[in-house]
């Protein structure tokens, strides 16, 4: 049964006649007798209008109009460009161009030919692919599943998701409840952990320090060290560091823009 709320509106019938109605609406005409009748009537009216004879204006009409119009055409030899013709087809040609078109038979002929061609191109129909095209495509399309549809895919997945959810929520609730009722235990645990960690860190630092000091090269270094040598080493290290900084700055600086010179 035809759904009468879907009837084609007059503007949609116009578009259908021009072959520009979206495919989502054209299918309606195949099943609706009423809309088909309306379309046939409209087609008859358009055909009759197209068949009306073109009336000739009275003699001297063009001369009379041209005598009354101030035309400022484009300079001689400067015909309309392809972009101008595009603009004219879209009804957006500037006044100067329109004046030129009025005065220049060559451009007028070209513009008329363009308009006729574009009209013919726009009348070309759209073709329908073969039957079951949609099904053939859909058979090879992998539709991504959202997490919601994955959960509700089967009873088993719903049960699994519910079980996991209960486990997570239950364990979180239980840990919160235990923490609230055993705050003293938690505080004692924290103090014990801090003390043990500090002791371990100090013991480790002491162990590493004593091992380094026991190395023979450390002993040699200590015996060879004098205030003068330490000062010299410090000076060399500072000079190397400063030199490195300057080198890095030069390397990272942006190149200076080259200026084109007219003369050598």
């Amino acid at each position: 049964m035809t759904d009468h709320t879907l009837h084609l509106r007059p503007d949609e019938l116009d578009l259908l006649l021009e072959g520009r109605l979206p495919s989502s609406r054209t299918s309606h005409i195949e099943t609706c007798e009423e809309c088909r009748t309306a379309l046939d009537e409209l087609r008859d009216v358009v055909a009759q209008l197209n068949a009306l004879p073109a009336l000739e204006p009275p003699a001297g009409f063009s001369e009379f109009v041209m005598a009354s119009v101030r035309v400022a055409p484009l300079p001689v030899g400067q015909h309309l460009t392809a972009d101008d013709l595009d603009a004219w087809l879209a009804g957006a040609l500037h006044q100067e161009g329109r004046n030129h078109l009025w005065a220049c038979a060559e451009c007028r002929q070209l513009a008329d030919a363009e308009r006729a061609l574009v009209y013919r191109l726009e009348q070309l129909p759209l073709f329908q692919p073969g039957a079951r095209f949609e099904e053939r495509v859909m058979a090879k399309v992998a539709i991504p599943q959202s997490w919601r549809s994955r959960i509700f895919a089967s009873r088993r997945s719903v049960a699994l998701a519910a079980g996991l959810g209960s486990l997570v929520v239950g364990s979180m609730g239980a840990s919160v409840a235990w923490s609230l009722t055993h705050q003293d235990t938690l505080a004692a645990l924290g103090t014990w952990a801090t003390t043990v960690a500090t002791q371990w860190t100090l013991a480790a630092a002491q162990g590493v320090g004593s091992r380094i000091l026991a190395q023979p090269w450390v002993l040699e270094l200590r015996s060879a060290a004098s205030p003068g040598r330490i000062a010299a080493l410090t000076a060399v290290a500072t000079a190397l560091y400063t030199g490195g900084l300057f080198a890095m700055r030069r390397l990272l600086a942006l190149p200076a823009p080259r200026v084109a010179r007219a003369l050598p």
Partner: protein, 200 residues
């Protein structure tokens, strides 16, 4: 869940968003919206119904399987026409001989040889499919379009048959805007010349 009738009222971007959400009806709506425009473009590019169906099918499968990588700032129509045109152009490049045959064999030197070796679309309507193709593509303007270079053909079809703006065509074909305009102007010029005999 949105019904197909409700989907018809949504914009392309909204339907794509639903498709990304895993709604099968949204996928079907996108196919329904673009099956005729895409198929028509490809058919006019390759001028073989069966091949056009295969390439259109390939286009939709590729586009819909990659819907996650579609960037919503571009029009969906530009995106799908880009995939369809690439499929058609790739095919024409692979089968260069097929397209050349429309203009006559490569070795044809004289106008007589060119005419003799040119493919006359629709003049061998022996099977029902060929008869259908002849009806669809046999008009003078369809024959004239077939004689354009593939790049011109794609531009003129997207502009005047599918109704895309110049910017959308540039996006679809990965061409600079100026090149698209030039191609369309030249295509119209060639079509006018090719159809001039009809006026005489």
């Amino acid at each position: 869940m949105a019904e197909p009738r409700e989907l018809a009222t949504l914009t392309d971007q909204e339907v794509v968003a639903l498709a990304r959400d895993g709604r099968e009806a949204a996928y079907r709506e996108l196919i329904r919206r673009y099956e005729r425009p895409v198929f028509s473009l490809v058919l006019r590019m390759v001028r073989d119904r069966q091949l056009a169906e295969d390439l259109s099918q390939e286009t939709f499968i590729k586009a819909l399987n990659a819907i996650g990588s579609y960037r919503p700032e571009y029009k969906f129509s530009s995106w799908i026409f880009k995939i369809a045109n690439n499929a058609a152009i790739d095919h024409l490049r692979r089968r260069e001989l097929d397209t050349l045959s429309l203009d006559g064999a490569p070795h044809a030197a004289t106008p007589g040889e060119i005419e003799a070796t040119a493919l006359q679309v629709g003049d061998k309507g022996e099977t029902p499919l060929e008869e259908l193709e002849a009806r669809e593509l046999g008009s003078a303007i369809e024959r004239a379009i077939a004689q354009l270079r593939p790049e011109y053909r794609a531009c003129i079809l997207l502009r005047h048959v599918e109704g895309l703006a110049y910017e959308e065509i540039a996006q679809s074909l990965d061409l600079p805007l100026g090149t698209v305009k030039t191609y369309i102007h030249r295509a119209r010029h060639e079509l006018r010349d090719l159809l001039a005999h009809l006026k005489q």
